[in-house]
């Protein structure tokens, strides 16, 4: 039975797509909290635009990781151990970022707030970069031995491809964050976000396009060319729509661009999930890295039931919080009254 590993390969691609689409914009918004905002109110507009949803978005990454473990344990083991350093950095970045979101508003001093703003921005940026780098070496190869272990030392990942992929996801996230802000915010923030997205859009997408073309040149499947063509057209359509002020249509095009781009990368590498640069015989493929048919079947049933339910309630949650936020909606920071702060017992 060879269909199941392929189904799971597609499912994992879908999970990554979901992750990049959803957390893409909240990582971007995180970076923009530092780069884009002019005052404290604006920073809080950005933070609260993703406030109710960011944690649910991040679970897409955990699920992609968990599903890779369940469906392709050998891929999971090789990928995560080979990328030990960048993953450690990504984890540290995600930790700081998560804590920043919850704790930033719980202190009163400017130093406290600016510390957590930096943690948010740097954490988001580093996480986006490391995730991109990780995905890139998955597609371009790694010095794996017969056991699937990295033989290239701790810095084998620090390859131009990985940097290209890292910049690709970082650039995409920042742009995606700007698109998101045009949809979710109002007032000055919304208009400046639109202007910035129009102005910097082409530059921010450049590394991602470069990565897709690189993978394409290494594999050269016809369907890959079609997808890249579609991706380029959709990115252009998103840009044009945004310039005209059609924010929703622009965001949809941007999402479809991501779909086509991710699809081009995943179809091009298929069936190899992690190529070895030492010997093609050591390549990890969907067939030799997968779990047993029994496990894949059970997981497929669970995913078939679970994923639509997750999508349904996540869409509902976006609907509940669909209104735009502007600086006028942001309440004054809540300071605990001195009278009840209490003495030490």
């Amino acid at each position: 039975m060879e269909a199941l590993p392929v189904i799971w390969f597609v499912l994992i691609a879908v999970l990554w797509l979901g992750y990049l689409f959803l957390e893409g914009f909240d990582l971007g918004v995180g970076v923009l909290m530092k780069l884009f905002t002019r005052d404290e109110k604006e920073r809080r507009v950005l933070l609260n635009s993703i406030g109710p949803v960011w944690d649910g978005n991040e679970v897409w990454l955990l699920t992609a990781g968990g599903a890779t473990f369940a469906a392709f344990p050998l891929w999971y083991a090789s990928l995560f151990s080979a990328l030990y350093l960048p993953l450690t950095l990504a984890l540290l970045a995600l930790i700081f970022r998560a804590v920043a979101i919850e704790y930033r508003g719980k202190g009163y001093s400017d130093a406290w707030r600016s510390f957590w703003t930096n943690a948010m921005a740097i954490g988001s940026g580093v996480a986006a970069f490391c995730v991109g780098a990780m995905l890139a070496v998955t597609t371009t190869g790694y010095p794996l031995d017969a056991n699937g272990d990295n033989t290239g030392g701790p810095f084998a990942w620090l390859h131009p491809y990985a940097i290209l992929g890292g910049l690709g996801v970082l650039g995409f996230s920042v742009l995606h964050g700007l698109y998101f802000l045009t949809l979710k915010t109002d007032g000055d923030v919304r208009h400046r976000a639109r202007a910035a997205a129009v102005r910097f859009g082409p530059v921010l997408l450049l590394p991602l396009v470069g990565w897709a073309l690189l993978v394409q040149s290494q594999n050269g499947k016809t369907v890959g060319w079609l997808l890249i063509g579609a991706a380029a057209a959709l990115a252009a359509a998103a840009w044009v729509n945004l310039a005209r002020g059609a924010e929703k249509r622009a965001f949809v095009c941007q999402g479809l661009f991501l779909l086509a781009g991710v699809a081009s990368i995943f179809t091009n590498v298929f069936p190899v999930v992690m190529p070895s640069t030492l010997d093609p015989a050591f390549d990890l493929t969907v067939y030799n890295a997968s779990s047993s048919t029994y496990t894949l079947t059970i997981m497929a049933v669970v995913a078939a039931i679970g994923l639509p339910v997750v999508l349904a309630y996540q869409i509902w949650s976006y609907r509940v919080f669909r209104r735009r936020i502007s600086t006028a909606h942001i309440p004054e920071p809540h300071v605990i009254p001195v009278a009840i702060r209490g003495a030490q017992p």
Binding site: W54, V59, G65, F80, A82, Y84, E102, M299, F321, A328
Partner: protein, 516 residues
């Protein structure tokens, strides 16, 4: 070795946040449900106050949980390759069926106060709390498979899942899950008890509440301090009594499930239990205090100073006279069944062919087991005492007792950590312990499980980085918890401290009811 320290530190740390999330989540749910049913202000305030502390803690559980999902592959790639066919499934299910539920619905709860109907807003909290309980189930299923592998066959040297039902109803998992849930609820209960005690005490020393000639409370109010009205008293009084009663029930649950678990463990991992007892020779007696040098891990150095005759036999078998096998008896059995040396495989590097020591670190298992039980009992005694001491409606005006109540919050935390360390360290030298009645060959030594492609330097870097970041964040979390605990209800409810009038009709122009 560095890898083991890292796994130990990150997991124990994560397991400080988790029980509080599970236990306190349940109690916040109780408050909001009571508010829904009675409409009383005190329950709304309780929901907001405890909910605030719940969230401060929750985020740290999230942040440290991400590491857990990935570190199997990062530091333990041989382990991941060996167990992936069966171990990955509960992990993936945890993410798909529990984490999404927990995180999405908690987001809805935090920001949904004025966006959702009262009923729906309560329902999303149910969703989030159920999510965290379901996640505990799946991760314990995964862990229990390491303790007691079931439902697999060995194909090409790796276990393959053949019976998912057996994996997900593993009796080890069911016992451990109920034990961990009760343990977590005990943590939440002690948290309520300690902090509510503090606030009742503050109301007394601030002269708000007084007692009459018979010692009964006379509830007062301080109109000039936000939130210090009569209703405030009821928030803390309800919290204290709830915490104390739930603490007692949870302790009973912990004791019963712990006993079941111990009996299972004597069968499944006799070495773990023998070393928990520092029982070198076969015996029926439970050691209360052992002297000698347990830390040497050498049986010749251990003397039992005080023993309860028959108790060990009772713990293991339910009677007083069946001998429990000691470490010295077990070692030859293990050597015969699972070999004396690691295989000479190339990927093991300089660990290839190393001799295996089947005896866990006795000082850790022996004391871990006793610390767990002692602090569990202390927490229960504290709860019982609190019920008695507050029978007249408030706490004594004693500073020392208040300190004790606050420090008492630590007791179930310590018990939980000690229990976790005990069960993990007691499994050594295995990462996947053999199932005595299972398929031959389904076990893995910890030494053979770590990532061959990751250098010691990388491990050391991540160990130092993670440990120092965790340490720093721990300080921040504790400070925030203390700040918001001291602040009382008004710290979590800006509307109590402000004169701002709430508009009657909600429109999209309102400021957010909650914003970061």
């Amino acid at each position: 070795m560095i890898g083991r320290w890292q796994f130990g530190i990150t997991t124990v740390y994560h397991f400080w946040m988790v029980p509080l999330t599970i236990g306190l989540g349940l109690l916040v749910l109780v408050f909001q449900t009571l508010w829904m049913r009675t409409g009383k202000e005190r329950y709304l305030r309780g929901t907001k106050f405890w909910g605030k502390l719940y969230l401060i803690n929750f985020i740290m559980g999230v942040a440290t949980g991400i590491v857990q999902e990935f570190q199997f592959g990062m530091a333990w790639s041989e382990y991941s390759r060996f167990v992936g066919d069966v171990f990955g499934a509960p992990l993936a299910m945890e993410a798909l069926l529990a984490f999404f539920l927990e995180s999405t619905f908690l987001g809805l709860w935090i920001f949904g106060w004025d966006r959702l109907s009262k009923r729906l807003h309560l329902a999303v909290l149910y969703g989030a709390v159920i999510g965290s309980w379901v996640s505990a189930y799946f991760i314990i299923v995964a862990n229990s498979w390491m303790q007691h592998p079931v439902g697999v066959e060995l194909i090409d040297g790796r276990p393959r899942m053949v019976d998912a039902w057996a994996v997900f109803t593993n009796e080890t998992a069911l016992a451990a899950f109920s034990h961990a849930i009760f343990g977590s609820v005990a943590v939440g209960a002690a948290f309520l008890l300690g902090i509510a005690w503090y606030h009742l005490w503050r109301r007394r020393v601030d002269g708000i509440d007084t007692v009459d000639a018979t010692g009964r409370v006379v509830v007062g109010e301080a109109p000039d301090v936000p939130g210090r009205d009569k209703e405030d008293y009821h928030v803390w009084w309800r919290s204290l009594r709830l915490g104390a009663w739930v603490g007692l029930v949870a302790f009973a649950g912990v004791a019963v499930t712990g006993d079941i678990q111990a009996k299972i463990m004597f069968e499944q991992q006799p070495m773990k239990m023998a070393s928990a007892e520092a029982a070198c020779e076969d015996t029926t007696d439970f050691s209360v205090l052992s002297i000698g040098d347990i830390s040497s891990n050498d049986c010749d150095d251990v003397f039992h100073l005080l023993e309860v005759p028959g108790l060990l036999s009772y713990l293991a078998n339910g009677d007083l006279h069946t001998e429990v096998e000691g470490v010295s008896t077990l070692i030859p059995q293990y050597q015969e069944a699972y070999g004396t040396h690691l295989p000479g495989a190339e990927y093991l590097g300089d660990r290839a062919g190393a001799e295996i020591d089947y005896q866990p670190l006795m000082i850790v298992t022996y004391w871990g087991f006793r610390i767990m039980i002692t602090f569990g009992i202390l927490a229960a005694l504290g709860a019982a005492y609190a019920l008695w001491a507050t029978r007249k409606g408030t706490v004594p005006a004693s500073k020392r007792l208040t300190r004790l109540a606050l420090w008492g919050i630590a007791a179930p935390f310590i018990a939980n950590s000690a229990g976790w360390i005990f069960t993990e360290m007691g499994r050594q030298p295995f990462v996947v312990a053999p199932n005595p009645t299972g398929v031959d060959g389904v076990f893995l030594f910890t030494q053979a499980a770590i990532s061959p492609g990751v250098s010691a330097g990388e491990m050391l870097f991540s160990l130092i980085a993670l440990t120092s970041v965790y340490g720093a964040l721990m300080v921040v979390e504790l400070k925030l918890l203390m700040k918001y605990s001291r602040g009382g209800v008004a710290a979590a409810m800006p509307e109590l401290a402000e004169t701002r009038k709430k508009p009657e009709v909600h429109s999209d122009d309102d400021v957010l009811s909650f914003a970061y």
